[in-house]
Amino acid sequence: MDKETALFMYKKMVQIRKFEEKLYQLFLTRPMPGSMHQYNGEEAVAVGVCAHLNKDDYVTSTHRGHGHCIAKGVEINGVMAEMFAKKTGCCKGMGGSMHIADFSVGMLGAIGIVGAGIPIAAGAGWTCKYRGKGQVSVAFFGDGAANEGAFHEGINLAAVWKLPVIFVCENNVYGFSTHYRRTMAIENIADRAAGYGIPGMVVDGMDVKEVYAESGKAVERARKGGGPTLLECKTYRFMGHSRFEKSAYRTKEELEEWKKRDPIKLFEEFLLKDMKLKRQELDEIGADVDREIEESVSFSERSPDPEPDDYKKYIFA
């Protein structure tokens, strides 16, 4: 990994983290529309994977989509304004937190139905294959989603059609309140890959270097016509399932244990120790991001609300 890539990824991770920390505050301190599902703790996954993607590669995301969007390159102003339900939001206030999308960078959209993005990503992969230009498509989804019919059908279709799709399962231990060991009798979701005849890989989702390395192979294979891969990234969410959910179903100890492996902290250590970057460089990035986020808030505040009947424009093309 060269320095440029490393810094690019670091910045993206920090953007996601700070974006959501800001949001958390906003939700605490003023009336915000809708709800949100935070990605804190899982940043390495979106960033490590998306670092391999071009603008014309496709991504489908989930209810927990802010991270994927930012990692794929959606402008933060547009994401923030969408959280504010403003006309300048990347979906014009039509979708909110659970449906953020930006086609100009290949982000096909966060989808609020668990698992539903998986076959849609397969379909985008079909287009990639049909065009034959080496594009790929990525589906992000959770451990919970791996028990949906859409997971099974979507991956199987991609496998038998040899579509250039990377299926990225973010196993953050819980589907809402329910531990994955209470929803499946296996330890590794990646093991399901064998049932579709595709490679499956377990990845340390807290280590962006590992995510980057393994997803790189999968993306490469897909671009070359080698078909799909299932990557299971072991990760953890540091916040509640949604907004202020208290997570009484898990222990403080478990949370603290995982926080020791905070992906941003881990990566900082690597950057400072192994890549010999200076603390100051990182701090400057942090400060840049802070400014960017603040600006996105004031951009959102300045932005107009949609008109009450704007929605009429979007029912049909």
Binding site: S35, I111, G112, I113, N147, G149, G175, R243
Partner: protein
């Protein structure tokens, strides 16, 4: 203790019924350890144990199918689907299996199954805001229940649990009186008047197919469901001040539908407005309108008016969301339009 909120009324009904019949089992996503997205099943795991109160994988096909298989073989499952929008994921099991198995098998089997699901728009955009009762009304073999008060909720849920057929039981998010997961309690219940009748802590059932006249009146019939019942009652109160005497009918069960009460009311008032939170085309209001146009046409002094969500998904931004939902002012205007029409 009397239940002042629908969430408590439902929980009471579940507890009383589960104590009565050990074949009643609960399943659904996050219903056991967490106590349910809207807290309906809170505490039930501790009371009844994990064999009877079961968290499930996020697998709407499987949990609905399993509930059907269990119902076919002697259990009486009550299944919670976290948002009614996700019923789309289980549509085959609900509509092609649960609704039809007894029929296809020549009556050999009963399917005592209740599927509970929250409906209504509360700021969560198009995939978490629908009110899909009409899909299930259009599926013979299912009963469809939609209470608007704690009193009705408890009595109807007990009837649903004791019914030997699959029952779709819809619950309006704003009427629970409880917070959604991790959220501020988005609720409308504090704002409601005595029409939001509490449920007594006693065993009673409410028969299906009997509408409740929530407010009687002589000038115009309003049929409304769920949260809209209360919006219509408020509208009726305001219109009362202007001398318009509105009758508000809550069908409570959409299948079976108490046509008689609606038709009698129209025979009396000559005017009808139907208010529902589902989308217009082929919706709840369409059906009620058609029933009236078929059975009470010559009593009508004004066109049959439907007030529903126009044919659109629910947008996210509050200003747009509120624009598509039937509002009190809009209901008042529509009622006036039929009252002043043809006089």
């Amino acid at each position: 203790m009397e239940a002042k909120k629908i969430v408590d009324a439902l929980r009471q009904a579940l507890i009383e019924e589960m104590e009565r019949d050990e074949n009643i089992v609960l399943l659904g996503e996050d219903i056991a350890v967490f106590g349910g997205g809207y807290r309906v099943t809170e505490g039930l795991l501790d009371m009844f144990g994990e064999e009877r109160v079961k968290d499930t994988p996020i697998s709407e096909i499987a949990i609905t199918g399993a509930a059907i298989g269990a119902a076919m073989t002697g259990l009486r499952p009550v299944l919670e689907i976290q948002f009614n929008d996700f019923l789309a994921c289980a549509m085959d099991q609900v509509c092609n299996q649960a609704a039809k198995v007894r029929f296809m098998l020549g009556g050999q089997v009963k399917i005592p199954l209740v599927i509970r699901a929250p409906v209504g728009a509360t700021g969560r955009a198009a995939q978490h805001s629908q009110s899909l009762e009409a899909w299930f009304m259009h599926t013979p073999g299912l009963k469809v229940v939609f209470p608007s008060t704690p009193y009705d909720a408890k009595g109807l849920l007990k009837t649903a649990i004791r019914d030997d057929n699959p029952v779709m039981f819809f619950e309006h998010k704003l009427l629970y009186g409880a917070a959604s997961p991790g959220g501020k309690a988005k609720t409308a219940v504090d704002d409601l008047n005595e029409a939001f009748k509490p449920a007594p802590e006693e065993d009673y059932t409410i028969p299906f197919g009997i509408a409740d006249i929530k407010k009687s009146g002589n000038d115009v019939t309003v049929v409304a469901t769920g949260f809209m019942v209360h919006r219509c009652i408020k509208a009726a109160q305001k219109l009362g001040e202007e001398g318009i005497d509105v009758e508000v009918i809550d069908p409570r069960t959409l299948v079976p539908l108490d046509k008689t009460t609606i038709i009698r009311s129209v025979e009396k008032t000559g005017r009808i407005v139907i208010v529902s939170e589902d989308v217009l085309t082929c919706g709840v209001a369409s059906e009620i309108s058609a029933v009236v146009a078929e059975n009470a046409l010559f009593y009508l002094d004004a066109p049959v008016k439907r007030v529903s969500v126009p044919d659109t998904p629910i947008p996210f931004a509050p200003v747009m969301e509120q624009a598509v939902l039937p509002q009190e002012e809009q209901i008042i205007q529509e009622i006036k339009s039929v009252v002043y029409r043809g006089i």
